[in-house]
């Protein structure tokens, strides 16, 4: 009997990003309130569970199936879930209470600690990945993310100095870094596929 073909991890990632995009669009257009958006986004993170299962099910030799890559994805998934939870709690407390400096510092830690977790997960991946080419790719992607962050932050800073754009919050740093990493990994995967020879 032929085995059932498992959905590829990229499909789950695509579904997660698509659902996040739809929720963001609904929130921005005020079609849903912030609490509903938060709950839907938290639910959409469940899509990361079948993604990890799908990665594990892929055959040996697949880049996303190294032990280090699976541990990295799990750590990022847990950190992201805690980030969403921490962010939701922090925003709710901020809206309902007048914050003292101490309490403000404490609730700022709720989303920040999971972000530290994401940065730690990236560092551990570079240490634990045994495949030197995958480690090289991750290092290059990390540098590309850093380059994008430095470029965007510097450009935005000068635009802000000249009153052309509004003030941007510092917490944008990690998402911009992650976008740079993701784009770079995507480009390198595409380059590897197009140059593949069997």
């Amino acid at each position: 009997m032929a085995g059932r073909q498992r959905t590829r991890p990229g499909v789950w990632v695509g579904l997660f990003l698509a659902s996040a995009g739809v929720i963001a669009a609904l929130k921005v257009t005020d079609a849903i309130n912030p609490t509903t958006a938060f709950l839907w986004f938290a639910l959409s993170m469940l899509l990361l569970v079948p993604m990890i299962r799908s990665m594990k099910a892929m055959g040996p030799g697949c880049a996303s199936n190294s032990a280090a890559a699976i541990r990295y994805t799990k750590r990022i998934g847990i950190s992201s879930a805690l980030y969403v939870l921490g962010l939701g709690i922090a925003i709710t407390i901020d809206r309902k209470m007048d914050l003292t400096t101490g309490l403000g510092f404490a609730i700022a830690m709720l989303p920040v600690l999971p972000i530290f977790g994401m940065i730690w997960a990236m560092g551990r991946y570079l240490v634990e990945e045994q495949d030197e080419y995958l480690r090289h790719r991750a290092s290059m992607a990390s540098l590309a993310g850093l380059g994008l962050l430095l470029g965007v932050a510097s450009f935005w800073g000068f635009l802000e100095t000249f009153d052309i754009v509004p003030h941007a919050q510092g917490w944008w740093a990690v998402p911009i870094w992650a976008i740079g990493m993701g784009l770079s990994q995507g480009w390198m995967s595409y380059r590897d596929r197009t140059g593949a020879s069997e």
Binding site: G61, S66, E132, Y133, R191, D192, A196, S197, E198
Partner: protein
């Protein structure tokens, strides 16, 4: 750096996945080395040489 990996692999009728399994690396690593996008470290170059029973300089060539 040029290399003869693709030819040597073909002589043994190995796929990239076969060679990757013998080297305990990902198929992407084999592909990147074969196509010259990535030069392996010295330890991995020795492992490749051992798999083919050859010296490193018989597999990896100067530009």
């Amino acid at each position: 750096m040029n290399n003869r990996l693709k030819v040597l692999r073909a002589e043994k009728s190995w796929s990239q996945a076969d060679l990757a399994e013998r080297l305990e690396v990902s198929r992407q690593s084999v592909n990147a080395i074969e196509t010259g996008k990535y030069d392996p470290s010295l330890p991995l170059a020795f492992r490749i040489a051992d798999v083919f029973g050859m010296a490193i300089e018989e597999i990896f060539l100067r530009d």
